[in-house]
Amino acid sequence: MDFSGDEDIWKDLAVRAQSGDARAFTELLRSITPYVRGVAGRGLANAEWVEDVTQDVLVSVYKSLGTYSSDRPFKPWLGAIISFRRTDFLRRYYKDRAHKQTSLDSPEFIEKHVTDSRFSGEWKDIEAALDTLPEKQRKVFVMLKIEGYSAKEVAKATGMSIPAVKVSAHRTLGKLKGLLK
């Protein structure tokens, strides 16, 4: 979506909102929301996080409206808030990570996050591509990238060095990309 023409409109709406114009403020928040989603979405893992950060940003715009100065462009001001809130969100997320662990035995979690029928075809393609690889290369890749073993553990299991394991996985990834194109 192209937002290049919105700068002046947002600036005008922000100035009107500063004087207490609720309609202008509503319009401002509605029109910046897709932009905020787009910018905040870069580097966030899923749509729920993007929406959480978007809502944080909207609240922050409300709280910091007085710091916007009409002699300055609006986007850098908004961009700084988005960046700040996204970083803050990620910091909080990674801090609470231990509390957010979900058992893979949970049927609800598996239904929502693991067994997604929309991607079942893609997974079969990946499996088929993996089958074309040499045995050792496939084992390294599956252990490291799918089963979640560390490079050290894979190296121990396969009798390879740690750098060799990493190089092998990297090459396999490239090969799979080529096969799945």
Partner: protein, 217 residues
């Protein structure tokens, strides 16, 4: 929560925020806020210096170019720290991110100079500390400028919660250093840095570490 209900929540949030909206007072230009702080801080420090009294050899010291250069450096650190601090109160720093560099450089110069002096000239011996004079002086000179800059800072909305208190510390520390240099007779480089400037910066570091809670918005 699924995407649809979250989107609905975003719409509801926008409505709620718009309903709560009241006219806001636009934050004055950082330069204007800096001038207000500088006026309060300088008046206060001048008053305290008047009551505490100048060092007896001040007229002689004021003819020493090194002494004057040192005071000018501290003034530059204070001023650049104040500039950066007041610009940092606005989320995007009004596009002037470079402003945090000069106070950091000037403080580093003071630090390196004192470090070299303590290591090379004093043989790693910590300078003497005059509790009654330096500590009370540092607190006395710093309390009002620090309170004023803190009050003005929290009225803004910073996205640099760790850097802002450091810049404020440089602003107050530079002024406090000048004040202590013109009342305290010590000319020892190590002593002046460790007891006249470092306490302010250490306080700034403490605020910086807890910046997430203090400057939350």
């Amino acid at each position: 929560m699924n995407r649809g209900s979250q989107k609905q929540n975003t719409d509801q949030l926008i409505e709620a925020l718009a309903t709560k909206l009241a006219p806001v007072r636009v934050l004055p230009h950082p330069l204007w806020r800096l001038l207000r702080w500088a006026f309060v801080a300088l008046c206060y420090i001048a008053l305290v210096v008047y009551f505490v009294g100048f060092r007896p050899d001040l007229t002689v010291k004021l003819q020493n170019p090194f002494f004057l250069f040192e005071l000018a450096m501290a003034a530059a650190m204070s001023l650049s720290g104040a500039f950066a601090g007041f610009w940092l109160c606005v989320p995007d720093m009004r596009g002037q991110e470079w402003m945090i560099v000069p106070p950091l450089v000037l403080f580093s110069v003071f630090m390196v100079r004192a470090g070299l002096h303590i290591v090379l000239d004093d043989g790693m011996v910590m300078p003497d500390h005059l509790w009654s004079h330096c500590t009370t002086g540092a607190v006395l000179f710093g309390v009002v400028p620090a309170s004023a800059i803190f009050y003005l800072s929290i009225r803004g909305r910073t996205t640099h919660i760790h850097m802002l208190p450091m810049m404020n510390a440089f602003a107050v520390g530079g002024l406090g250093y000048i004040a202590l240099r013109i009342v305290c007779t010590s000319d020892d480089i190590g002593h002046d840095f460790v007891y006249h400037m470092l306490p302010y910066v250490a306080f700034g570091v403490l605020l910086s570490l807890s910046g997430r809670y203090i400057y939350r918005w």
